[in-house]
Symmetry: C2
Subunit: 247 residues, 2 copies
């Protein structure tokens, strides 16, 4: 473990410039960033690797530099449960900053990822002196609660197709914040696999596939290569999500 860390550190030093790419850390003074950079380590993980472990008190917060992460948990009977996605520039494992509790969920790499681990203790010190950081962390937590609430509401939908469409709809709205798209056309870049969607919605993978089949047959969505899903008929998707239209 230590060897691994030293190796990483050696070959991929964490620079203050790199840290300042993260919105949370950007406002910090240069010397502080220098200090943090020295205490931080950069690590790479393969697809499907566990980046943070549930049930243990992790000693660092994980900042995502490249790739995509997902918070996942497992039910007692071993079933996988998808919680949320983490995109580059964002971070996870921040609950430990506020209490001494254990990491609640696993963080798994959906793609090969590059992350920066910053020790919790160092960040706690930063929090003491920089109210702005505390503020942003508070906002982040609040946003997470809101998002979880929305997701929970989604799970209340009795109609499974509607659940899938709702999830797609919320992916469209969160992902493609770029507003140069025409209203009727949008895209989801690096769309989750059917399996990833399934565990977020408490449905089986096959069911997700079948919903996608129908959506494609009706030309509402369309694959554009492996890394992109085109939404041809945005308003149809919205109607499906809202339940005012059936598949």
């Amino acid at each position: 473990m230590l060897a691994q860390r030293l190796w990483d550190q050696k070959f991929m030093a964490v620079t203050p410039e790199l840290l300042s790419r993260f919105p949370l850390l950007k406002p910090l003074p240069t010397d502080l960033l220098n200090q943090l950079a020295q205490q931080s380590i950069m690590r790479k993980f393969a697809r499907r690797a566990i980046v943070l472990n549930a049930g243990v008190a992790e000693d660092s917060v994980c900042f995502l530099f490249e790739g995509r992460l997902q918070g996942v948990d497992f039910t007692i009977d071993g079933r996988e449960v998808g919680l949320y996605f983490v995109e580059p520039g964002d971070f996870c494992g921040e609950l430990g900053l506020f209490d001494e509790g254990k990491q609640a969920e696993y963080i798994m790499a959906l793609t090969p990822v590059v992350v920066v681990n910053i020790p919790i203790e160092s960040l706690r010190e930063v929090m003491l002196r920089h109210a702005g950081v505390v503020n942003q962390l508070g906002r982040k937590l609040a946003a997470r609660v809101r998002q979880m609430t929305e997701q929970r509401t989604l799970l209340g939908l009795p109609n499974v197709s509607q659940r899938v469409c709702c999830q797609l709809w919320s992916l469209v709205n969160s992902g493609a914040a770029s507003s140069e798209m025409p209203m009727s056309l949008a895209a989801i870049s690096n769309p989750p696999t059917h399996q990833e969607i399934a565990i977020m919605l408490n449905v089986s993978r096959e069911t997700v596939t079948r919903v996608f089949q129908k959506l494609q047959n009706q030309k509402i969505v369309q694959r554009a290569g492996p890394g992109s899903l085109l939404i041809n008929d945005l308003s149809a998707l919205q109607q499906l999500a809202e339940g005012s239209r059936e598949l």
Copy 2:
């Protein structure tokens, strides 16, 4: 509306002593409590009344003095979704302290309640000067995220009886923190109605009833009057929750 508030204020003045009963506010100096008390109002609500509205930016945080509240939301098709309970001494609607977003979920009175509303603006000022308050709020949010994560995991269970038993199990552990009980015997005071449990677990009310029937037939739980549910066989409940035993 204004008249109502004046009425409440007139007949039930908020005293600093009353505010200091809340753990979050207890550490604050007396003069600050005085000030807050003057800006706060006490209100009563009947059972089933909406205490905080979803979708609007509420201008106050709601401290629960008496009774029990539940965070609820509604799916697009009008189905009720239960999110969490609020017990006396606790508060809700605190997300607005961190961002300017709208209240995410409704807060509904499960019993007649007495609450104290403290303006968000006043609390924000308090947060600026008293790091301890920020700290506690952070912990509270973190705890909420953990609890929501657990609840979400619960929903992943394919077996509905298990879901119900898990929920009961977590009610036992959170509610009856009083440790003078023998290990094999516990009780849930003011247990939620079947309907309230049902909407938290995404199951129908009838299904909850049927699970309770089985639990009662097997003498695992037992009603003790309207305000209490006895758990006769705690370990059996645990096994059922963990899936190592079937109903």
